[in-house]
């Protein structure tokens, strides 16, 4: 997309930064769907029909316990595969 502000050379690092911000939003969406889906998908039944895993109601176990583990896994994957090492200072030099 060309707009009237880009008649200068844009910092190439911003392309990477923008992509990583989008990945972060993506993970948040996955997080929300997982959290919401299991909580209300399994938790809306009457309590006497609940199943239990390790003593906890299944909705809670999947939504909050497994959900936390899964999201931690996804974040590790996101950082290892999706995020790039780039210098943050001007031209990568002059550290403060």
């Amino acid at each position: 997309m060309k707009d009237r502000y880009t008649d200068f050379k844009e910092d190439p690092r911003f392309k990477i930064a923008n992509r990583e911000a989008l990945i972060g939003c993506g993970v948040a969406v996955i997080n929300f769907i997982w959290w919401f889906g299991f909580a209300y998908g399994l938790g809306s039944k009457p309590v006497d029909t609940y199943t239990y895993i390790f003593g906890l109601p299944a909705w809670f176990f999947y939504s909050c316990i497994v959900g936390t583990v899964v999201i931690i896994g996804v974040v590790i994957l996101m950082v290892k595969k999706g995020f790039k090492d780039i210098p943050l200072n001007h031209e990568g030099g002059d550290d403060l």
Partner: protein, 488 residues
């Protein structure tokens, strides 16, 4: 007086003061004082960055009010609290490298420094600085009261003595050590919070005779306690989901959180912090709130639910371990208050004094002034906290939601949308804050959601529409701004 509980607490406070004095050596020897004092010379590594994010964000409520609500409401409140998992990675990946790179380009050391360069508007700066000082001052006083009450209830000292102990410790390390002292103590406080959570969770499960047993007891008391709808069945999915804005993604807009996203050393630190932060925040939030629910089976009938964690600790753990553990909520409160104090003082010194009162102030004057302002604000909060005025309590209700509604779009859109301009930012701040205060006072939960949701949507619409409508005004300056921030 309960010595085995008091001694670990005193040792904890002493260690915190020593760290402050250690960090003070950096402040003394630096030749770029503001950089060191307010942002630790951008030297944060991944572990410290993660811990200071979690500790600043996780306040007393994660250990006292939150588990208290879980005790009364049941697993639904744990579900709600897990909307905070997102803060572990969202803030850092959204502000992420772009915020770090831009703040280096313009040498920003406060959130307002960034807003100042991005919008070049005196009104944006003044309005932002004003909201930060007012809201964070009241938030700080409320946390301060919490810290003193906690010391009071654990040690049996009088409230006044407790508040003096709390204040003197805090002021000593913040005034002399600045940002570096704050983040190192945050890291230690974060570790205490993390370990403390695991210890009390496990001890409570054991005391309750295992999870199955605890659940069975809760069901026999009130089956709703283990549903996602809360003890009286009144929490709707929409209401619980709306907390994703208040305590989840909206946290991006908090100045004390944003400033941390410009203080890390390099992109490796950021990557490491994303992982460590997510793990830490996940374990603390899950563990603490779950302990609150489990506590109901171990210690039924607690009247002041906020005290469930301290009471549990003293009940299920040997005394001296309880002493160490009770340092955790205190650590949570301190690590929040110290960051707020520094943000307020940086707003006064850097954003108002140096920007508009005396731009040519010399290094020595700034040093003296920074110390003096931090001290004055601290002492002022101390006096307010001894007997908090109603206005302060009222303002504190709006503090976090108000700041989120004010800053979330000027920050995010400022980073990612070149057309965003000063008029859009101003409209967004004014509408965000005022609609939040109005909605919250009048409806509390409009349309069954937390009151922060609608103001966040409104301030987004204002930001975009006003920016587009005023595109032609100041087009030349806008172009210069974009070129400065975006070009190589």
């Amino acid at each position: 007086m309960n010595l085995p509980v008091i001694i670990p607490l005193l040792i904890f406070l002493l260690i915190i003061i020593l760290i402050g004095l250690y960090a003070a050596r950096f402040v003394k020897s630096t030749n770029t004082f503001l950089h060191e004092y307010f942002i630790g010379s951008r030297s944060l590594g991944g572990f410290i960055l993660a811990m200071t994010m979690v500790a600043t964000y996780g306040s007393g409520s994660s250990f006292l009010g939150g588990p208290g609500a879980a005790y009364s409401i049941g697993l639904a409140w744990v579900l709600l609290s897990m909307s905070q998992l997102v803060t572990g990675y969202f803030t850092l990946s959204i502000l992420g490298k772009k915020f770090a790179i831009m703040s280096r380009k313009i040498n920003a050391i406060t959130l307002i420094d960034f807003l100042k360069e991005r919008y070049r508007s005196k009104w944006v700066v003044i309005l932002s600085a004003f909201s930060i000082v007012i809201f964070l001052f009241s938030a700080m006083a409320a946390q301060w009261v919490g810290g003193a009450r906690l010391i009071e209830s654990i040690t049996g000292l009088s409230y006044t003595t407790a508040i003096l102990i709390f204040s003197i410790t805090l002021l000593l390390y913040v005034i002399f050590g600045g940002f570096r002292a704050v983040v190192i103590t945050d890291a230690i406080q974060g570790v205490i919070m993390f370990v403390g959570t695991l210890v009390i969770l496990i001890a409570t499960i054991v005391a309750g005779g295992g999870i199955s047993n605890i659940m069975a007891e809760l069901v026999s008391e009130n089956p709703n306690l283990i549903t996602p709808y809360g003890a009286d069945g009144s929490l709707t999915p929409l209401y619980i989901s709306s907390f994703w804005i208040l305590v989840g993604v909206g946290v991006v807009g908090l100045p004390q959180v944003a400033v941390r996203a410009m203080s890390y050393r390099d992109s490796k630190s950021l990557h490491k912090a994303l992982i460590i932060g997510t793990v830490t925040v996940g374990i603390i939030m899950l563990g603490m709130h779950l302990t609150g629910v489990f506590g109901r089976a171990v210690l039924p009938g607690i009247e002041e639910a906020d005290k469930v964690i301290p009471l549990l600790a003293m009940d299920v753990l040997p005394n001296w371990i309880a002493g160490i553990l009770l340092a955790a909520p205190l650590a949570a409160i301190m690590s929040t208050v110290d960051s707020l104090l520094l943000v307020v003082s940086s707003s006064i010194v850097k954003d108002i004094y140096i920007n508009y009162v005396k731009p040519d102030a010399d290094e020595k004057r700034i040093r003296v002034l920074s110390g003096a302002v931090t001290t004055t604000v601290g002492v002022l909060v101390l006096f307010m906290a001894i007997d908090p005025p109603d206005l302060l309590i009222w303002l504190n209700l709006f503090a976090f939601g108000g700041l989120e509604a004010a800053f979330i779009w000027p920050i995010i859109m400022g980073l990612y949308w070149k057309k965003g301009n000063a008029y859009g930012a101003l409209a967004s701040i004014i509408i965000g804050v005022s609609s939040y205060i109005l909605l919250y006072s009048v409806y509390t939960n409009p349309f069954g959601m937390h009151a922060v949701v609608i103001p966040v949507i409104l301030s987004f619409l204002c930001y975009v529409s006003v920016s587009l409508l005023t595109q032609k005004v100041n087009a030349v300056e806008q172009k210069a701004i974009i070129q400065k921030l975006w070009s190589v």
